[in-house]
């Protein structure tokens, strides 16, 4: 094989192959980076809420200027609740109960108080909260109250307080490290409870406590006071059902839906990444074209030698092999260098992403590696096939 290689390597043009190599490297890098970036960043937008299921919608009445001035009620009457209940898209509906007494809470970390603030509590029937029942449970006499906080609080804490006071940042898993003391003031009674933060929800903009605590505390601190609910939680069969939107529109209700924004952001991310990848693929395709031209030119210049080798008994596969190995090794080098490049760039941007979203799960480089390996296989197969085809055309003297 050495002598064959000695013959066939003649006329290999370094500038042409270098041109292919760098063009392909750049294209591959862009494609792989696009894939990897999408996979890394998409979870930020489509994060699942572990407490409130996707098929739960929170419904409230639209607050308008006219409504506020005219003193129109923003609460749902039992009739209105009944009317929602009977809709075809609705599986079940539950009401938010809000606290009718004054609450304030002090939060801190490792015994150091961070901030104190006035608060309010809300509760929904326990069946709407996806959590193990023993954790989401309160019985009269317990001085620890389980709490689910809005996710915005974690950002407030991480960037507002932890940053400036040198306190550790917390992620979902470390929520229980936050100390929370709840003070209830009502009609001259002052009680203190310990809050245990079970987690953070991005779908409920409220501080959620178990229904049992809410029922007990409302009747204990403000007996006799009842209010109609201003927000409802609704379980639906299909959250994308058009009839939901039509119904809400018709009665002037609003669905709190941060999923929609996330959906849009994911969509734009997809479009941008898709465009970038398209450009990368285009560059890759062009570089592939350069390679094929170079190989064809090389084969053309070496036609006599190839023909002579075939005539003295070399198999077409034997004379094609040096060129096939040449392109395979170049493709492989491109793949490995591109993956290395993606790894370097990724470790840079992942630092930033993780600083902003500490709770996000980090995935590996498998997606980029898979796509890269796939591209490598496709391009290499095409190369191998094209070279063999070219050699066979010499065998059949089609030139």
């Amino acid at each position: 094989m050495n002598l064959v290689w000695k013959l066939l390597r003649r006329h290999i043009s370094l500038p042409q192959f270098a041109g292919f190599f760098f063009a392909n490297l750049f294209g591959m890098l862009v494609v792989l980076l696009g894939v990897q970036f999408y996979v890394d960043v998409a979870p930020v937008f489509s994060e699942k809420d572990s407490f409130i299921n996707d098929d739960y919608l929170v419904v409230s009445k639209r607050i308008t200027t006219v409504g506020t001035l005219s003193g129109r009620s923003n609460t749902f009457s039992p009739d209105e609740i009944e009317q929602i209940q009977v809709q075809a898209f609705c599986k079940s509906v539950g009401a938010f109960t809000s606290s009718k007494y004054k609450v304030s809470a002090a939060m801190g970390m490792q015994g150091a108080p961070a901030f104190t603030s006035e608060m309010f509590f809300e509760s929904v029937p326990d069946e709407y909260v996806d959590m193990q029942t023993d954790a989401w449970h309160w019985t009269p006499g317990d001085d620890v109250v389980p709490v689910i906080m809005p996710r915005t609080y974690i950002a407030l804490y991480n960037f507002g307080f932890a940053q400036s006071r040198g306190l550790p940042k917390v992620s979902d898993g470390l929520a229980s490290m936050i100390d929370m003391i709840v003070y209830i003031n009502a009609e001259g009674r002052h009680d203190k409870f310990k809050g245990r933060i079970l987690g953070f929800s991005s779908r409920l903009n409220t501080i959620l406590v178990p229904q049992s605590f809410m029922d007990w505390s409302n009747s204990h601190y403000e007996p006799g006071k009842t209010d109609e609910p201003s927000r409802l939680i609704m379980r639906v069969y299909n959250p994308t059902d058009e009839r939901i939107a039509q119904f809400m529109q018709k009665y002037g209700y609003e669905v709190e839906d941060n999923k929609l924004d996330a959906g849009r952001a994911t969509y734009f991310l997809k479009v941008v990444v898709g465009l970038v990848m398209l450009v990368g693929l285009l560059i890759s395709a062009l570089s592939f074209y350069i390679l094929m031209l170079s190989i064809y030119l090389l084969v053309q210049k070496n036609t006599t030698k190839l023909e002579n080798l075939l005539l003295i008994g070399y198999r077409p596969s034997q004379v094609a092999r040096p060129y096939q190995l040449l392109t395979l090794s170049m493709n492989l080098a491109v793949l490995l260098i591109a993956l290395l490049g993606v790894w370097c760039i990724r470790s840079y941007y992942m630092n930033i992403i993780q600083a902003i979203f500490p709770q996000m799960q980090v995935r590996g480089m498998l997606p980029a590696a898979t796509i890269g390996a796939g591209l490598f296989c496709i391009v290499s197969c095409l190369n191998v096939w094209a070279i063999r085809h070219k050699i066979l055309s010499i065998w059949y003297r089609k030139e």
């Binding site: 094989m1 064959v4 008994g313």
Partner: protein, 214 residues
């Protein structure tokens, strides 16, 4: 393979030639293993064409050619590779050597494929043919006569049932063509092979079993 049989074979380019007097074209004839043939012809009568048919790199003929009982038009690439490596050795008129390689490398590139001779055996041929000093010389720098001797050696480093030498001594003197004839005959006899030599006049002095006019 024991026979090469031609059945009414005619190159397509000759189809319009009205009066063709040939002992090969448009005949039923047979080359047999172990015998020596001389095909004599004026230039342009299709000597190299005949060789190219037998080596499978041209197919522009009418009629049929058989290796033993097998019609060669049905042979696939693998079968032709086998023929070129093991059955028919061809000494090309245009030599088809590689000018970038040295004399020895030109022989070795075929020997690497067949592993039929040792380096020493090839060395002895170089000496007998009087070009042992050209062992490491680039083919491009050698005379055509010297190249013909290298091409002969390359043709002999393989097992064969027939050796097809297309004007092998066109550029050689009496002395060297005799040595070449000796080596070729020795090797053919050792393998029990047939020899087919074409010539436009000047030809090796061998004991021909049959002389054919093309």
């Amino acid at each position: 393979m024991d026979t090469i049989r031609l059945q009414q074979v005619l190159p397509r380019v000759f189809q319009k030639q009205p009066a063709l007097h040939s002992e090969v074209w448009m005949q039923d004839m047979c080359f047999e293993k172990g015998r020596t043939y001389l095909v004599e012809a004026a230039s342009g009568t299709g000597k190299s064409t005949l060789c190219s048919y037998l080596l499978g790199y041209r197919r522009d003929y009418t009629g049929a050619i058989f290796f033993d009982q097998a019609d060669i038009s049905a042979m696939n690439i693998a079968a032709w590779v086998q023929v070129r490596q093991r059955t028919i050795s061809h000494l090309f008129q245009e030599l088809r050597l590689f000018p970038e390689l040295t004399a020895y490398e030109n022989v070795a590139i075929k020997n690497e494929l067949t592993h039929s001779k040792t380096r020493d055996e090839i060395g002895i041929w170089f000496e007998r043919l009087g070009i042992s000093d050209k062992w490491d010389a680039k083919i491009g720098l050698m005379s055509f006569g010297q190249q013909q001797r290298v091409a002969l050696m390359r043709a002999l480093v393989q097992p064969f049932d027939f050796i097809l030498a297309d004007e092998p001594i066109s550029h050689l003197d009496e002395h060297n063509s005799r040595i070449m004839g000796d080596i070729m005959t020795e090797e053919a006899q050792r393998q029990g092979a047939g020899i087919i030599i074409t010539s436009i006049g000047k030809h090796m002095n061998l004991n021909y079993d049959k002389v054919l006019k093309l």
